[in-house]
Symmetry: C2
Subunit: 412 residues, 2 copies
């Protein structure tokens, strides 16, 4: 086993590539070593002949750390610990994801995390000295990564401009867009849908880096593009071929929102997506659909708060059209008008009662609970409503009309 003196830095020489560096580290520490970027994408791995654990193999195969592993590392508090610590951190094995004992360190520049170095402890634990060596290795890796960073940033700016052109319909034809995307060396990924996240507060550079992390680490969707404007994050995402589950996009949205909260304490994010289309020219449409979803979610937080996709909106997709038609017709629901008048005179809440009853799929128990009243009170009120408004609550057409008209009235 080689021994390097502490006072001499074995990583002082220049390494042509990260591969050389990782081999050197592996050589010095006598362990399998992996370097990944800030988003857990594999940058280099040592060709050490010894054993590897499952997590490492999977990472190398996929050229990125599996999302399951990332999630697990977050849950165990390891990633935050790495990000905050200046020194290497020892991580005990996590069996269910095939992660053996290891030591890791973040590669940090003054602008934040650039990546991580992972060292597997197959047969023996690293010594204090070796911890120190690893820290020096991270210093050297930093310089290499900074160069990559700049190149990537420039590239991304080009992507963003292209994405805006697609979103705004500046580029119309599918062929044209496809060509441009290929020019950028981006993988073709269709069908695709546009996803928008709306942040309550302005997106700071810090949040931006969190977003970038989330977007690149997710493996639920392939994110071809993403751009950030003041309060919004807009993505173009495609479901992976593996998951034929159509709800991949919706799952991604839910996870993104929940993890931004849990991991980075960034809350109050609204998410929405348009439909999935198989040609690029329809991306613009998907974008507008996503905007519609956001608008409707803002207008009807209770009704469609847990809904993210344009498809899921159901009847709410039609509200705008219906409102327009209603105004053209000069239509007013006589029933609701009567109830409203009655409410005004008698200080009752028949309208609200009816709405919540309908919201709850005509279930008296659920509706009564939501209204905080006795079931019989609700039944009594419903009888009153039927009398006053002269309606039939067993007639689906009437019920739907009432439901829609109630919601439409809220729009004005």
């Amino acid at each position: 086993m080689n021994h390097y003196p502490l006072n001499k830095d074995p990583f002082k020489e220049t390494f042509g590539s990260l591969e050389n560096l990782v081999d050197k580290i592996s050589d010095v520490l006598q362990c399998p070593v992996t370097i990944e970027d800030a988003n857990h994408r594999l940058l280099a791995y040592s060709s050490h002949e010894g054993q590897s654990d499952k997590a490492r193999v999977d990472t190398i195969i996929a050229r990125r750390v599996p999302e399951k592993v990332i999630n697990s590392l977050w849950r165990a508090g390891i990633i935050p610990k790495l990000n905050q610590s200046n020194d290497p951190v020892r991580i005990s094995e996590i069996n269910d994801i095939g992660l053996g004992d290891r030591v890791a360190t973040a590669i940090v520049s003054k602008n934040g995390i650039l990546g991580y170095i992972w060292v597997l402890e197959i047969d023996k634990r690293l010594s204090e000295e070796q911890f120190s060596l690893l820290k020096q290795a991270a210093q050297t890796a930093k310089n290499q990564l900074l160069q990559v960073q700049v190149r990537k940033k420039k590239k991304q700016e080009g992507h963003q401009e292209l994405f805006w052109q697609i979103l705004t319909g500046h580029l119309k034809s599918h062929e044209e867009i496809k060509e441009k995307i290929e020019q950028f060396g981006l993988p073709p990924s269709l069908p695709a849908s546009v996803i928008i996240f709306q942040f309550k507060d302005e997106i700071t550079p810090k949040i931006e880096s969190h977003i970038s992390y989330m977007v690149t680490t997710t493996q639920q969707l392939r994110i071809t593009f993403f751009v950030i404007s003041r309060h919004e994050l807009i993505l173009l995402g495609s479901p992976l071929q593996g998951s034929e589950d159509k709800s991949a996009t919706v799952n991604f949205i839910e996870d993104f929102i929940s993890q931004m909260g849990k991991r980075f304490k960034v809350n109050n994010i609204q998410g929405a997506c348009g439909s999935s289309y198989d040609t690029y020219e329809k991306v613009e449409k998907s974008y507008h659909e996503a905007i519609t979803v956001l608008n409707i979610k803002n207008q009807f937080p209770q009704e469609v708060g847990d809904t993210y996709s344009y498809q899921q909106l159901g009847i709410y997709r039609y509200l705008e059209v219906l409102l327009k038609k209603k105004q053209e017709d000069g239509y007013e629901n006589a029933t609701l008008k009567k109830l409203g008048e009655y409410d005004g005179i008698n200080k009752t809440q028949l309208l609200e009662t009816l709405e919540i009853y309908l919201n709850n799929d005509s279930n008296v128990n659920d509706a009564a609970k939501e209204l905080h009243i006795h079931t019989n009170t609700l039944i009594y009120r419903l009888k009153r409503i039927v009398e006053i408004a002269d309606i039939d609550l067993k007639n689906p057409n009437q019920k739907m009309t009432l439901y829609l008209d109630i919601k439409l009235n809220k729009l004005i």
Copy 2:
């Protein structure tokens, strides 16, 4: 008591007016006498000082026979009997409408009924001779009425042309239309709505006379205009001030259809009406609404078969707009598609099951009955549907979306 010899016709002289004639008849028969036209509108009544029954008084006050009385006479089979008989007919009292014993005869020309003469039998019954005299009186009345008929016909043709102009939007401004209507001496009657009846078979002159009868005898609505084209009868009707009930128009439609069937054996009539508006310029709109109702009723006979007004259409009013939006969006309900495919492969009827379940307001019993299956079968199918289509049948938004999309699919 005067006695006129049988062989001498006391009505041979010329009478300047119907009033003179009616007084003469009353004088000859020594009874109160009333003459009305074919539509039971009062033409003349004797000023005989004696008693009268309630029906006669009401008729004179309203200048027409009350609808209740007409209905009662039809129910008792008296009107048809009068229309078919060449001789006067004796009618026994009908207490609940205040109709005392009387004798009546139709006034008939070769083109049909022109009117009726009613003779009250207050103290004594008419003799055979007097029957004969009454028959002669009817002959004389006929000539007078024929002249009136011609004048009325001409007037009506003028009305019809005006009505068409209003319906087709040829006359746009309210003021202009109002003026024209006043020129015709027609009563101003607003709010008004357009009513259309669609006849399965072509409207023959005979049916036309029945229509005319129905339209002029009804007292549920004031019918300002009516025109007849090949298969259609179009009316402009206003609710009477007395009945503030908004469903007067709908009631009229229902009664019209049922009575055309019962009284004249004219069946297969579809009826519909537009909304009520208070300016004449909106009559055109009401007309188009009525047409829409008819179209939708033809497309959804089951769903809105018992619905007549544009308002009652509820959600079906929106179908056209929704279809348009749907086509613009290129939207297809994935759920329904899946179910349809499943039905195709497994020869099941999940789609139909779902539709009828939703039609029946999610009531398993009613739906099972309509489907002629066991309740548990329905429950089983619903579970399948939920599985296959991945939907939540407790979510009103989803349910409404499914309902609407099912109906929309039927439109194509």
